[in-house]
Symmetry: C2
Subunit: 323 residues, 2 copies
Amino acid sequence: MNNPDCVTLDTIRDAAARIAPHAHITPVLQSRSLDELTGARLYFKCENLQRVGAFKFRGACNAVWSLDESMAAAGVVTHSSGNHGAALALAAKTRGIPAHVVVPEGANRSKVAAIQANGATLHYCAPTIAAREATAESVRRDTGAELVHPYTDVRVIAGQGTAALELMHQSGGLDILVTPVGGGGLVSGCAIAARGLDPAVTVYAAEPEGAPDAYESFRRGERFTAITPDTIADGLRGTIGEINFAIMRQHVRDVLPVSDAQIIAAMRLAWERLKQVIEPSSATVLAAVLRYPDRFAGKRVGLVLTGGNVDPDALPWMTPRAG
Amino acid sequence: MNNPDCVTLDTIRDAAARIAPHAHITPVLQSRSLDELTGARLYFKCENLQRVGAFKFRGACNAVWSLDESMAAAGVVTHSSGNHGAALALAAKTRGIPAHVVVPEGANRSKVAAIQANGATLHYCAPTIAAREATAESVRRDTGAELVHPYTDVRVIAGQGTAALELMHQSGGLDILVTPVGGGGLVSGCAIAARGLDPAVTVYAAEPEGAPDAYESFRRGERFTAITPDTIADGLRGTIGEINFAIMRQHVRDVLPVSDAQIIAAMRLAWERLKQVIEPSSATVLAAVLRYPDRFAGKRVGLVLTGGNVDPDALPWMTPRAG
């Protein structure tokens, strides 16, 4: 596996400098009414306002701009039909190099359209993890493109950590940081950044009850991946990575499970109180603060709203009107 | 009527200083994809992120904090069951004075709840304009409270103008400013602010086709109010005020009508590209840029997104799911 020691506050600072010409410094929102509701002081990092609508652009951009000239010329490849695919496509476009994205047949059309809109070459494969990895590997061999894994790549982890770097500065300091956990790219990078800046920061990962691999891994003290995800939070169905779990054991206090119903309620609250469109995955962090109030009461809490790519016709509590 | 000359760049600057301790300086968002779509450079002023979720807090706050001590002690009164009512209630709360809000029977429950949550005293009346005005007048006589009209009050107009003051600075200068028009409080204040800072700025007002009183007034060259509003943009059903029309004739180039279908399409676009929850009223400005592209192509265009108070169960293109 990649070496967890390769990600440090310094590599995250380097990533921040590298992506600065391309990525947004996203705003941080506060809400008096949510502070009253939770008894905490909440700082929402709006990665739904990041390019491609998700924090994933940070890691992809850092990976793409970390390549030396000759490697870059051959382009990049990944297997992700979600935000990472679109993010890598756009990151490659900012450098003018090819991107290859392996997409399982039957993948969400609007997400595939977003990848294509950013100029990536699509490679379809059967909808299994084995087929995706095999196809990515064969593209890599044929083209010489560099594989950029969505969450185990140390360049990606460092890039994602830049979100916490910004948030720590923008908020003026935090007691607690909460991010969602899927594969663990975000939480591991952000934990290193936040605790690198201030070792007193407590980091929690919020996870859907229906995809509890990080929770189970924490409970057992070893990486556990034998679960079949069943959650509305489509961005968090990935399996916790080895390097990510290793970093989490060092830097993350606990994994906080939340139910899909709690996720949906938190999405509505973000709508009403923050006026932000956020994905179900993003809503896990607010759901966790609401479910485990004792951990947060009286604290300054940073929450990363990871993305806003929700189909306007697919709000979980509504159905499109006929006609 | 109030004297339109009472609102100047200076009174708007005074308003900005007066409300600074209470109101947010709201962020300005940009979107590469909306710029590409429109061929313009768009700067979205996010008043949906203002307190109470709408720009109305600016004017209400300026009015409340303009009162001298003895007047303030008797409180304020208005007849508005919408955002102005909630805004005046909150503004009064920031000063610790009473607020009275006249609410027609049958008014939207969630809006009434927002007014009540901010501690205002509700006075119910029959759902006619005559009844609302008579009730407000009787409250004023009984309590000595100062009447704060939602859009003809010069203190309110100056307060609304602070949104344009901020936007001009945040954007680094504009060729065009577009705001919605209902009663005209926002567009008149913003036009004075923007053109006070830079007389070369062109100001447009976007108006629903189903509530075309400002459009008809412009076309006829005199204030025309004999229309029955029928539009999804509930914030823009009010009738253009006299002082507001007088200011518009001086400072607004034209009124741009948009259909409800165009408003809904623009709401969806704001959702997808800006990740912002905005009211139908707010969406008129983006709808206008899309409908009249020749006026905006190649220009730096400021758009005021006026508010974000949309019931999550009442999106115009969806219906709540059963159960």
